[in-house]
Protein backbone atom coordinates (compact mmCIF):
# COMPACT_ATOMS: atom_id res chain seq x y z
CA UNK A 1 0.00 0.00 0.00
CA UNK A 2 2.82 2.35 0.78
CA UNK A 3 4.33 2.64 -2.65
CA UNK A 4 1.44 4.09 -4.67
CA UNK A 5 0.44 6.39 -1.86
CA UNK A 6 3.87 7.83 -1.44
CA UNK A 7 4.16 8.22 -5.17
CA UNK A 8 0.97 10.16 -5.17
CA UNK A 9 2.11 12.38 -2.36
CA UNK A 10 4.54 14.18 -4.61
CA UNK A 11 3.22 13.36 -8.01
CA UNK A 12 4.32 16.70 -9.41
CA UNK A 13 7.93 16.25 -8.54
CA UNK A 14 9.51 12.97 -9.47
CA UNK A 15 12.75 13.87 -7.86
CA UNK A 16 11.19 14.75 -4.56
CA UNK A 17 9.49 11.38 -4.76
CA UNK A 18 12.82 9.66 -5.02
CA UNK A 19 14.17 11.42 -1.97
CA UNK A 20 11.10 10.54 0.04
CA UNK A 21 11.35 6.94 -1.07
CA UNK A 22 14.95 6.95 0.02
CA UNK A 23 13.69 7.35 3.55
CA UNK A 24 11.07 4.67 3.30
CA UNK A 25 11.18 1.53 5.37
CA UNK A 26 12.55 -0.78 2.70
CA UNK A 27 15.67 1.21 1.97
CA UNK A 28 18.84 -0.49 3.10
CA UNK A 29 20.62 2.79 3.72
CA UNK A 30 18.06 3.76 6.30
CA UNK A 31 19.74 4.29 9.60
CA UNK A 32 17.03 6.03 11.57
CA UNK A 33 13.28 5.80 11.16
CA UNK A 34 12.13 9.05 12.68
CA UNK A 35 13.87 11.49 10.41
CA UNK A 36 10.58 12.75 9.09
CA UNK A 37 9.83 14.80 12.13
CA UNK A 38 13.25 16.34 12.37
CA UNK A 39 13.51 20.08 11.97
CA UNK A 40 16.73 19.75 10.04
CA UNK A 41 15.28 17.32 7.53
CA UNK A 42 13.53 19.79 5.20
CA UNK A 43 16.63 21.82 4.38
CA UNK A 44 18.49 18.60 3.75
CA UNK A 45 15.79 17.34 1.37
CA UNK A 46 15.65 20.72 -0.32
CA UNK A 47 19.35 20.63 -0.95
CA UNK A 48 19.07 17.14 -2.38
CA UNK A 49 16.24 18.13 -4.71
CA UNK A 50 18.15 21.13 -5.98
CA UNK A 51 21.20 19.06 -6.72
CA UNK A 52 19.12 16.43 -8.46
CA UNK A 53 17.37 19.00 -10.66
CA UNK A 54 20.74 20.38 -11.66
CA UNK A 55 21.89 16.94 -12.77
CA UNK A 56 18.60 16.14 -14.52
CA UNK A 57 16.82 12.84 -14.87
CA UNK A 58 18.75 9.69 -15.57
CA UNK A 59 18.91 8.76 -19.26
CA UNK A 60 17.10 5.57 -20.19
CA UNK A 61 19.45 2.66 -20.62
CA UNK A 62 19.27 -0.35 -22.86
CA UNK A 63 18.59 -3.63 -21.02
CA UNK A 64 22.03 -4.85 -22.05
CA UNK A 65 23.47 -2.20 -19.74
CA UNK A 66 22.13 -4.15 -16.77
CA UNK A 67 24.12 -7.26 -17.52
CA UNK A 68 21.60 -9.78 -18.85
CA UNK A 69 21.53 -9.65 -22.61
CA UNK A 70 21.82 -12.25 -25.35
CA UNK A 71 21.03 -10.77 -28.76
CA UNK A 72 20.65 -14.11 -30.55
CA UNK A 73 18.23 -15.42 -27.96
CA UNK A 74 16.25 -12.20 -28.17
CA UNK A 75 16.06 -12.45 -31.96
CA UNK A 76 14.87 -16.05 -31.70
CA UNK A 77 12.21 -15.06 -29.15
CA UNK A 78 11.12 -12.19 -31.41
CA UNK A 79 10.30 -14.61 -34.23
CA UNK A 80 8.48 -16.98 -31.90
CA UNK A 81 6.55 -14.10 -30.35
CA UNK A 82 5.02 -13.25 -33.71
CA UNK A 83 4.50 -16.87 -34.72
CA UNK A 84 6.70 -16.51 -37.82
CA UNK A 85 9.78 -18.43 -39.00
CA UNK A 86 12.43 -15.90 -39.87
CA UNK A 87 15.66 -16.27 -41.76
CA UNK A 88 18.01 -15.07 -39.00
CA UNK A 89 20.36 -13.17 -41.32
CA UNK A 90 17.55 -11.22 -42.93
CA UNK A 91 16.03 -10.48 -39.54
CA UNK A 92 19.38 -9.31 -38.20
CA UNK A 93 19.71 -6.98 -41.18
CA UNK A 94 16.18 -5.65 -40.62
CA UNK A 95 17.20 -4.38 -37.18
CA UNK A 96 20.29 -2.43 -38.24
CA UNK A 97 19.47 1.23 -38.68
CA UNK A 98 21.29 3.86 -40.69
CA UNK A 99 22.46 5.77 -37.61
CA UNK A 100 24.11 2.63 -36.20
CA UNK A 101 26.18 2.18 -39.35
CA UNK A 102 27.27 5.81 -39.33
CA UNK A 103 28.24 5.51 -35.69
CA UNK A 104 30.23 2.37 -36.40
CA UNK A 105 32.11 4.01 -39.28
CA UNK A 106 33.00 6.99 -37.11
CA UNK A 107 34.18 4.81 -34.27
CA UNK A 108 36.32 2.74 -36.60
CA UNK A 109 37.85 5.88 -38.00
CA UNK A 110 38.70 7.01 -34.49
CA UNK A 111 40.33 3.72 -33.65
CA UNK A 112 42.01 3.59 -37.04
CA UNK A 113 40.56 0.33 -38.36
CA UNK A 114 40.45 0.42 -42.13
CA UNK A 115 37.86 -2.31 -42.81
CA UNK A 116 34.78 -0.86 -44.41
CA UNK A 117 31.18 -1.69 -43.67
CA UNK A 118 29.01 -2.08 -46.77
CA UNK A 119 26.22 0.52 -46.95
CA UNK A 120 23.72 -2.13 -47.96
CA UNK A 121 23.87 -3.82 -44.57
CA UNK A 122 21.33 -1.42 -43.02
CA UNK A 123 17.56 -1.87 -43.23
CA UNK A 124 16.77 0.95 -45.70
CA UNK A 125 16.16 -1.27 -48.68
CA UNK A 126 14.12 -3.71 -46.68
CA UNK A 127 11.98 -0.94 -45.24
CA UNK A 128 11.17 0.43 -48.71
CA UNK A 129 10.20 -3.05 -49.79
CA UNK A 130 8.14 -3.51 -46.63
CA UNK A 131 6.32 -0.22 -47.14
CA UNK A 132 5.17 -1.29 -50.58
CA UNK A 133 4.04 -4.64 -49.21
CA UNK A 134 2.08 -3.02 -46.41
CA UNK A 135 0.30 -0.63 -48.74
CA UNK A 136 -0.46 -3.36 -51.25
CA UNK A 137 -1.95 -5.84 -48.80
CA UNK A 138 -3.67 -3.29 -46.61
CA UNK A 139 -5.51 -1.80 -49.57
CA UNK A 140 -6.39 -5.23 -50.94
CA UNK A 141 -7.78 -6.21 -47.55
CA UNK A 142 -9.80 -2.99 -47.22
CA UNK A 143 -11.19 -3.37 -50.74
CA UNK A 144 -12.24 -6.91 -49.91
CA UNK A 145 -13.87 -5.74 -46.65
CA UNK A 146 -15.55 -2.67 -48.15
CA UNK A 147 -16.32 -3.53 -51.78
CA UNK A 148 -18.63 -0.53 -52.17
CA UNK A 149 -16.29 2.06 -50.70
CA UNK A 150 -14.62 4.57 -52.98
CA UNK A 151 -10.93 4.22 -53.72
CA UNK A 152 -10.26 7.62 -52.10
CA UNK A 153 -11.80 6.41 -48.84
CA UNK A 154 -9.70 3.29 -48.86
CA UNK A 155 -6.54 5.30 -49.57
CA UNK A 156 -7.42 7.61 -46.66
CA UNK A 157 -7.79 4.70 -44.23
CA UNK A 158 -4.53 3.21 -45.49
CA UNK A 159 -2.82 6.59 -45.06
CA UNK A 160 -4.07 6.79 -41.48
CA UNK A 161 -2.66 3.36 -40.71
CA UNK A 162 0.66 4.27 -42.32
CA UNK A 163 1.25 7.30 -40.08
CA UNK A 164 4.40 7.31 -37.97
CA UNK A 165 2.46 7.19 -34.70
CA UNK A 166 0.50 4.08 -35.55
CA UNK A 167 3.39 2.16 -37.05
CA UNK A 168 5.73 3.11 -34.20
CA UNK A 169 3.20 1.97 -31.60
CA UNK A 170 2.69 -1.31 -33.45
CA UNK A 171 6.46 -1.74 -33.52
CA UNK A 172 6.52 -1.17 -29.78
CA UNK A 173 3.75 -3.71 -29.23
CA UNK A 174 5.64 -6.47 -31.04
CA UNK A 175 8.88 -5.54 -29.31
CA UNK A 176 11.26 -4.10 -31.89
CA UNK A 177 12.38 -1.38 -29.53
CA UNK A 178 15.10 -3.20 -27.67
CA UNK A 179 16.30 -5.08 -30.74
CA UNK A 180 16.99 -2.09 -32.99
CA UNK A 181 20.69 -1.40 -33.37
CA UNK A 182 20.76 2.34 -33.31
CA UNK A 183 22.75 5.31 -32.11
CA UNK A 184 20.05 6.35 -29.64
CA UNK A 185 18.13 4.54 -26.96
CA UNK A 186 15.15 4.51 -27.01
CA UNK A 187 15.22 4.67 -30.82
CA UNK A 188 13.36 7.47 -32.59
CA UNK A 189 9.87 6.91 -33.97
CA UNK A 190 11.17 7.01 -37.55
CA UNK A 191 13.65 4.23 -36.80
CA UNK A 192 10.86 2.17 -35.22
CA UNK A 193 8.72 2.65 -38.33
CA UNK A 194 11.56 1.73 -40.68
CA UNK A 195 12.30 -1.37 -38.64
CA UNK A 196 8.69 -2.46 -38.56
CA UNK A 197 8.49 -2.14 -42.34
CA UNK A 198 11.75 -4.04 -42.69
CA UNK A 199 10.34 -6.81 -40.46
CA UNK A 200 7.36 -7.10 -42.82
CA UNK A 201 9.75 -7.44 -45.76
CA UNK A 202 11.73 -10.01 -43.77
CA UNK A 203 8.57 -12.07 -43.29
CA UNK A 204 7.97 -11.97 -47.03
CA UNK A 205 11.55 -12.93 -47.82
CA UNK A 206 11.84 -15.71 -45.28
CA UNK A 207 8.40 -17.12 -46.08
CA UNK A 208 5.81 -15.96 -48.60
CA UNK A 209 4.24 -12.62 -49.50
CA UNK A 210 0.80 -13.83 -48.40
CA UNK A 211 2.24 -14.56 -44.99
CA UNK A 212 3.50 -10.97 -44.83
CA UNK A 213 0.04 -9.82 -45.92
CA UNK A 214 -1.59 -11.73 -43.08
CA UNK A 215 1.02 -10.26 -40.72
CA UNK A 216 0.10 -6.73 -41.86
CA UNK A 217 -3.64 -7.36 -41.50
CA UNK A 218 -3.23 -8.92 -38.06
CA UNK A 219 -1.23 -6.06 -36.61
CA UNK A 220 -2.51 -2.95 -38.38
CA UNK A 221 -6.24 -3.48 -38.88
CA UNK A 222 -7.04 -3.79 -35.12
CA UNK A 223 -5.89 -0.15 -34.87
CA UNK A 224 -9.14 0.79 -36.64
CA UNK A 225 -11.22 -0.52 -33.74
CA UNK A 226 -13.04 2.40 -32.14
CA UNK A 227 -12.06 4.81 -34.92
CA UNK A 228 -14.51 6.46 -37.31
CA UNK A 229 -13.24 5.18 -40.65
CA UNK A 230 -15.59 7.44 -42.59
CA UNK A 231 -14.09 10.57 -41.10
CA UNK A 232 -10.59 9.75 -42.34
CA UNK A 233 -11.63 10.70 -45.85
CA UNK A 234 -12.14 14.47 -45.87
CA UNK A 235 -15.15 15.02 -48.13
CA UNK A 236 -15.66 18.65 -49.19
CA UNK A 237 -18.84 18.29 -51.17
CA UNK A 238 -20.74 15.17 -50.05
CA UNK A 239 -23.99 16.33 -51.67
CA UNK A 240 -22.35 16.56 -55.12
CA UNK A 241 -20.85 13.12 -54.78
CA UNK A 242 -24.14 11.70 -53.52
CA UNK A 243 -26.07 12.99 -56.54
CA UNK A 244 -23.37 11.59 -58.83
CA UNK A 245 -23.59 8.19 -57.13
CA UNK A 246 -27.37 8.12 -57.27
CA UNK A 247 -27.32 9.05 -60.96
CA UNK A 248 -24.80 6.33 -61.74
CA UNK A 249 -27.00 3.80 -59.95
CA UNK A 250 -30.06 4.97 -61.84
CA UNK A 251 -31.82 6.39 -58.79
CA UNK A 252 -33.57 9.74 -58.50
CA UNK A 253 -31.53 12.77 -57.49
CA UNK A 254 -31.37 13.45 -53.72
CA UNK A 255 -33.87 15.72 -52.03
CA UNK A 256 -33.20 17.05 -48.54
CA UNK A 257 -36.12 17.59 -46.20
CA UNK A 258 -36.31 19.15 -42.76
CA UNK A 259 -37.57 16.50 -40.33
CA UNK A 260 -37.42 18.26 -36.98
CA UNK A 261 -36.36 21.60 -35.65
CA UNK A 262 -36.28 23.21 -32.24
CA UNK A 263 -34.77 26.23 -30.55
CA UNK A 264 -34.28 27.90 -33.95
CA UNK A 265 -33.70 31.39 -32.56
CA UNK A 266 -31.47 30.25 -29.69
CA UNK A 267 -27.81 29.31 -29.89
CA UNK A 268 -28.74 25.75 -28.96
CA UNK A 269 -30.70 25.25 -32.18
CA UNK A 270 -31.19 21.74 -33.50
CA UNK A 271 -32.23 20.57 -36.94
CA UNK A 272 -32.78 17.05 -38.18
CA UNK A 273 -32.42 16.75 -41.94
CA UNK A 274 -33.32 13.68 -43.97
CA UNK A 275 -32.24 12.95 -47.52
CA UNK A 276 -34.73 11.22 -49.78
CA UNK A 277 -34.41 9.60 -53.17
CA UNK A 278 -37.57 8.30 -54.84
CA UNK A 279 -39.42 9.16 -51.61
CA UNK A 280 -37.19 6.79 -49.68
CA UNK A 281 -35.09 7.90 -46.73
CA UNK A 282 -31.47 7.15 -47.52
CA UNK A 283 -29.78 9.12 -44.76
CA UNK A 284 -30.58 11.45 -41.89
CA UNK A 285 -28.54 13.47 -39.48
CA UNK A 286 -28.85 16.16 -36.82
CA UNK A 287 -26.93 19.42 -36.86
CA UNK A 288 -26.77 22.79 -35.17
CA UNK A 289 -27.46 24.64 -38.43
CA UNK A 290 -29.33 23.59 -41.54
CA UNK A 291 -26.20 23.51 -43.71
CA UNK A 292 -24.27 21.36 -41.24
CA UNK A 293 -27.20 19.00 -40.83
CA UNK A 294 -27.64 18.65 -44.60
CA UNK A 295 -23.94 18.03 -45.14
CA UNK A 296 -23.85 15.40 -42.40
CA UNK A 297 -27.01 13.78 -43.73
CA UNK A 298 -25.41 13.53 -47.19
CA UNK A 299 -22.36 11.92 -45.58
CA UNK A 300 -24.64 9.53 -43.72
CA UNK A 301 -26.38 8.62 -46.98
CA UNK A 302 -22.99 7.98 -48.61
CA UNK A 303 -22.02 5.82 -45.64
CA UNK A 304 -25.15 3.76 -46.10
CA UNK A 305 -24.50 3.41 -49.83
CA UNK A 306 -20.87 2.43 -49.21
CA UNK A 307 -22.04 -0.01 -46.53
CA UNK A 308 -19.63 1.39 -43.98
CA UNK A 309 -22.25 2.67 -41.52
CA UNK A 310 -22.05 2.21 -37.77
CA UNK A 311 -24.07 -1.01 -37.79
CA UNK A 312 -21.71 -2.76 -40.22
CA UNK A 313 -20.27 -6.16 -39.27
CA UNK A 314 -16.88 -6.17 -37.53
CA UNK A 315 -13.61 -6.38 -39.46
CA UNK A 316 -12.75 -9.76 -40.94
CA UNK A 317 -9.79 -11.57 -39.48
CA UNK A 318 -6.89 -12.41 -41.78
CA UNK A 319 -7.78 -16.12 -41.73
CA UNK A 320 -11.17 -15.35 -43.30
CA UNK A 321 -9.71 -13.33 -46.17
CA UNK A 322 -8.45 -15.36 -49.16
CA UNK A 323 -5.18 -13.45 -49.41
CA UNK A 324 -3.76 -15.87 -51.96
CA UNK A 325 -6.54 -15.49 -54.48
CA UNK A 326 -7.02 -11.72 -53.94
CA UNK A 327 -6.58 -9.53 -56.97
CA UNK A 328 -4.06 -6.98 -55.66
CA UNK A 329 -4.27 -4.70 -58.68
CA UNK A 330 -8.03 -4.38 -58.84
CA UNK A 331 -9.30 -1.02 -57.60
CA UNK A 332 -12.64 0.17 -56.29
CA UNK A 333 -14.57 2.87 -58.25
CA UNK A 334 -13.05 6.31 -57.94
CA UNK A 335 -15.11 9.21 -56.63
CA UNK A 336 -13.18 11.79 -58.66
CA UNK A 337 -13.87 9.96 -61.89
CA UNK A 338 -17.54 9.67 -61.04
CA UNK A 339 -17.76 13.40 -60.28
CA UNK A 340 -16.07 14.21 -63.60
CA UNK A 341 -18.51 12.04 -65.52
CA UNK A 342 -21.38 13.62 -63.61
CA UNK A 343 -20.28 17.18 -64.41
CA UNK A 344 -19.82 16.24 -68.08
CA UNK A 345 -23.29 14.72 -68.28
CA UNK A 346 -24.67 17.81 -66.55
CA UNK A 347 -23.11 20.18 -69.05
CA UNK A 348 -24.25 18.01 -71.96
CA UNK A 349 -27.77 17.99 -70.53
CA UNK A 350 -27.67 21.79 -70.27
CA UNK A 351 -26.52 22.04 -73.87
CA UNK A 352 -29.34 19.74 -74.93
CA UNK A 353 -31.90 21.90 -73.16
CA UNK A 354 -30.45 25.03 -74.77
Amino acid sequence: MAAPLLRHLSRTNVIARRTVLAFSKHNNDMQCRYLRNSKSLPPYLKEQVERRTKVGPEPKRHPSAFGCWNYDAELFAFGKRLGEDFDVDILREAFISRSYIEMEIEERKKVGVKTQIPDTSCNEELSIEGKQLIQKYLKAYLRFNFPYMFEEGICAICEYLMTTEILASVGKLIGVRDLIQSKHYPPTDEEMVDTFMAVVAAVAKSQTEERAGAFVVDFLVPRLVGKDINEMWKLDNPMGLLSAVLQSRGMASPESRLLWQTGCSSIMSLYHVGIYSDKELIGRSPGETLTIAEKQAAKEALKNLMKSDDSRPPFLSSSKVPLKSLDLEKKNPSADLLLKLYSQSDTSAQRATK
Binding site: H8, R81, D310
Partner: protein, 190 residues
Protein backbone atom coordinates in the same frame (compact mmCIF):
# COMPACT_ATOMS: atom_id res chain seq x y z
CA UNK B 1 -10.63 5.30 1.67
CA UNK B 2 -12.14 7.91 -0.58
CA UNK B 3 -11.75 7.29 -4.26
CA UNK B 4 -9.87 10.50 -4.88
CA UNK B 5 -6.86 9.31 -2.92
CA UNK B 6 -5.70 6.77 -5.42
CA UNK B 7 -5.04 7.12 -9.13
CA UNK B 8 -7.61 5.38 -11.34
CA UNK B 9 -7.88 4.45 -14.99
CA UNK B 10 -10.24 3.01 -17.57
CA UNK B 11 -9.92 -0.58 -18.68
CA UNK B 12 -7.25 -0.62 -21.38
CA UNK B 13 -6.32 -3.24 -23.92
CA UNK B 14 -2.80 -2.23 -24.93
CA UNK B 15 -2.75 -1.71 -28.70
CA UNK B 16 -5.85 -3.90 -29.21
CA UNK B 17 -3.64 -6.88 -28.47
CA UNK B 18 -5.42 -10.12 -29.32
CA UNK B 19 -7.91 -8.60 -31.76
CA UNK B 20 -5.70 -9.61 -34.68
CA UNK B 21 -2.89 -11.72 -33.31
CA UNK B 22 -1.96 -12.09 -29.65
CA UNK B 23 1.55 -11.08 -28.69
CA UNK B 24 2.76 -12.11 -25.26
CA UNK B 25 3.94 -8.87 -23.66
CA UNK B 26 6.54 -10.49 -21.43
CA UNK B 27 9.87 -10.03 -23.22
CA UNK B 28 12.40 -11.45 -20.81
CA UNK B 29 12.47 -12.82 -17.32
CA UNK B 30 15.50 -12.81 -15.02
CA UNK B 31 15.68 -15.24 -12.14
CA UNK B 32 18.12 -14.24 -9.41
CA UNK B 33 18.97 -16.53 -6.52
CA UNK B 34 21.77 -17.78 -4.31
CA UNK B 35 23.18 -21.25 -4.84
CA UNK B 36 23.70 -21.90 -1.15
CA UNK B 37 21.25 -19.95 0.98
CA UNK B 38 18.17 -21.63 2.39
CA UNK B 39 15.92 -18.73 1.37
CA UNK B 40 16.55 -19.49 -2.32
CA UNK B 41 15.56 -23.11 -1.95
CA UNK B 42 12.25 -22.73 -3.73
CA UNK B 43 13.84 -20.92 -6.63
CA UNK B 44 16.53 -23.59 -6.95
CA UNK B 45 13.84 -26.25 -7.04
CA UNK B 46 12.00 -24.33 -9.71
CA UNK B 47 15.12 -24.02 -11.83
CA UNK B 48 15.78 -27.73 -11.47
CA UNK B 49 12.28 -29.01 -12.16
CA UNK B 50 10.29 -26.54 -14.18
CA UNK B 51 12.49 -24.00 -15.87
CA UNK B 52 13.25 -26.06 -18.97
CA UNK B 53 9.60 -26.85 -19.46
CA UNK B 54 8.73 -23.19 -19.03
CA UNK B 55 11.31 -22.10 -21.57
CA UNK B 56 10.23 -24.77 -24.03
CA UNK B 57 6.55 -23.94 -23.83
CA UNK B 58 7.23 -20.20 -23.99
CA UNK B 59 9.86 -19.71 -26.68
CA UNK B 60 8.81 -16.04 -26.95
CA UNK B 61 10.23 -15.27 -23.50
CA UNK B 62 13.96 -15.01 -23.03
CA UNK B 63 14.97 -16.51 -19.70
CA UNK B 64 18.08 -15.35 -17.90
CA UNK B 65 19.23 -17.22 -14.81
CA UNK B 66 21.60 -15.29 -12.61
CA UNK B 67 23.13 -16.68 -9.42
CA UNK B 68 23.93 -13.99 -6.84
CA UNK B 69 25.99 -15.00 -3.90
CA UNK B 70 24.24 -14.46 -0.54
CA UNK B 71 21.30 -12.46 -1.84
CA UNK B 72 17.58 -13.09 -1.69
CA UNK B 73 15.86 -14.70 -4.66
CA UNK B 74 13.91 -12.49 -7.02
CA UNK B 75 12.10 -12.52 -10.35
CA UNK B 76 12.48 -9.58 -12.69
CA UNK B 77 9.99 -9.43 -15.55
CA UNK B 78 10.69 -7.02 -18.43
CA UNK B 79 7.77 -6.15 -20.69
CA UNK B 80 7.62 -4.95 -24.26
CA UNK B 81 6.36 -1.51 -23.24
CA UNK B 82 9.58 -0.88 -21.30
CA UNK B 83 8.26 -1.52 -17.80
CA UNK B 84 9.90 -4.01 -15.53
CA UNK B 85 8.51 -5.54 -12.39
CA UNK B 86 10.56 -7.16 -9.67
CA UNK B 87 9.14 -9.70 -7.27
CA UNK B 88 11.05 -10.88 -4.22
CA UNK B 89 10.56 -14.59 -3.86
CA UNK B 90 13.00 -15.54 -1.13
CA UNK B 91 11.60 -18.01 1.40
CA UNK B 92 8.89 -19.04 -1.04
CA UNK B 93 8.25 -22.59 -2.14
CA UNK B 94 8.35 -23.78 -5.70
CA UNK B 95 4.58 -23.67 -6.15
CA UNK B 96 4.35 -20.04 -5.12
CA UNK B 97 7.16 -19.15 -7.47
CA UNK B 98 5.33 -20.94 -10.28
CA UNK B 99 2.31 -18.77 -9.60
CA UNK B 100 4.32 -15.55 -9.60
CA UNK B 101 5.94 -16.49 -12.89
CA UNK B 102 2.58 -17.36 -14.40
CA UNK B 103 1.32 -13.95 -13.31
CA UNK B 104 4.28 -12.25 -14.94
CA UNK B 105 3.71 -14.21 -18.15
CA UNK B 106 0.05 -13.31 -18.51
CA UNK B 107 0.31 -9.62 -17.65
CA UNK B 108 0.40 -6.75 -20.14
CA UNK B 109 3.06 -4.88 -18.21
CA UNK B 110 0.94 -1.81 -17.59
CA UNK B 111 1.12 -0.46 -14.04
CA UNK B 112 -1.58 -1.85 -11.78
CA UNK B 113 -3.97 0.89 -10.69
CA UNK B 114 -7.58 1.03 -9.62
CA UNK B 115 -10.12 0.64 -12.43
CA UNK B 116 -13.13 2.91 -12.63
CA UNK B 117 -15.19 0.28 -14.44
CA UNK B 118 -14.80 -3.38 -15.18
CA UNK B 119 -16.04 -3.06 -18.75
CA UNK B 120 -15.48 -0.78 -21.71
CA UNK B 121 -16.61 -0.52 -25.30
CA UNK B 122 -15.40 1.44 -28.30
CA UNK B 123 -18.74 1.39 -30.08
CA UNK B 124 -21.38 1.96 -27.43
CA UNK B 125 -24.32 2.14 -29.80
CA UNK B 126 -25.20 0.16 -32.90
CA UNK B 127 -28.72 1.48 -33.38
CA UNK B 128 -27.80 5.09 -32.65
CA UNK B 129 -27.97 6.85 -29.30
CA UNK B 130 -31.35 8.03 -28.01
CA UNK B 131 -32.35 11.57 -28.95
CA UNK B 132 -35.48 13.61 -28.14
CA UNK B 133 -37.10 13.10 -31.55
CA UNK B 134 -36.57 9.37 -31.77
CA UNK B 135 -40.07 8.24 -30.82
CA UNK B 136 -41.96 11.45 -31.52
CA UNK B 137 -44.96 11.21 -33.80
CA UNK B 138 -44.15 12.96 -37.13
CA UNK B 139 -47.68 14.41 -37.27
CA UNK B 140 -46.62 16.84 -34.50
CA UNK B 141 -44.52 18.57 -37.14
CA UNK B 142 -47.56 19.81 -39.04
CA UNK B 143 -49.16 21.52 -36.06
CA UNK B 144 -49.02 25.23 -35.30
CA UNK B 145 -48.60 25.94 -31.63
CA UNK B 146 -50.53 26.53 -29.45
CA UNK B 147 -52.79 23.73 -30.63
CA UNK B 148 -55.70 23.49 -28.19
CA UNK B 149 -56.86 20.12 -29.59
CA UNK B 150 -53.41 18.50 -29.29
CA UNK B 151 -52.61 19.68 -25.78
CA UNK B 152 -56.06 18.86 -24.44
CA UNK B 153 -56.53 16.63 -21.40
CA UNK B 154 -57.99 13.35 -22.52
CA UNK B 155 -60.95 12.30 -20.38
CA UNK B 156 -61.69 8.62 -20.38
CA UNK B 157 -64.73 8.82 -18.13
CA UNK B 158 -68.07 10.41 -18.92
CA UNK B 159 -68.50 13.87 -17.37
CA UNK B 160 -71.60 14.89 -15.44
CA UNK B 161 -72.79 17.23 -18.21
CA UNK B 162 -72.42 14.54 -20.83
CA UNK B 163 -74.23 12.09 -18.61
CA UNK B 164 -77.18 14.46 -18.20
CA UNK B 165 -77.31 14.97 -21.95
CA UNK B 166 -77.24 11.19 -22.48
CA UNK B 167 -80.01 10.71 -19.95
CA UNK B 168 -82.07 13.42 -21.60
CA UNK B 169 -81.53 11.78 -24.97
CA UNK B 170 -82.66 8.43 -23.60
CA UNK B 171 -85.73 9.97 -21.93
CA UNK B 172 -86.63 11.63 -25.21
CA UNK B 173 -86.41 8.31 -26.98
CA UNK B 174 -88.51 6.61 -24.30
CA UNK B 175 -91.13 9.32 -24.57
CA UNK B 176 -91.15 8.96 -28.33
CA UNK B 177 -91.56 5.20 -28.01
CA UNK B 178 -94.37 5.71 -25.49
CA UNK B 179 -96.03 8.21 -27.78
CA UNK B 180 -95.73 5.80 -30.70
CA UNK B 181 -97.12 3.00 -28.53
CA UNK B 182 -100.04 5.20 -27.50
CA UNK B 183 -100.77 6.19 -31.08
CA UNK B 184 -100.58 2.51 -32.11
CA UNK B 185 -102.95 1.58 -29.31
CA UNK B 186 -105.21 4.43 -30.35
CA UNK B 187 -105.16 3.10 -33.88
CA UNK B 188 -106.02 -0.37 -32.63
CA UNK B 189 -108.90 0.93 -30.60
CA UNK B 190 -110.11 2.90 -33.57
Amino acid sequence: MSSRSLPATRLINVGQNGVGRYVCQLARITLRFCKHQASSRGMRDFVENYLVDFARSNPNVVVYVKPHRHRGASIQADYLNGNSHKTRVSKMDMDDICKWIELARTRSGVDIVRKTKNFQTHSPSIQGVWHPFLFKDPSVNLKTFPDSEYGRFEVNEVTATERILQLAERMKQLELEKGEGKSEKDGESV
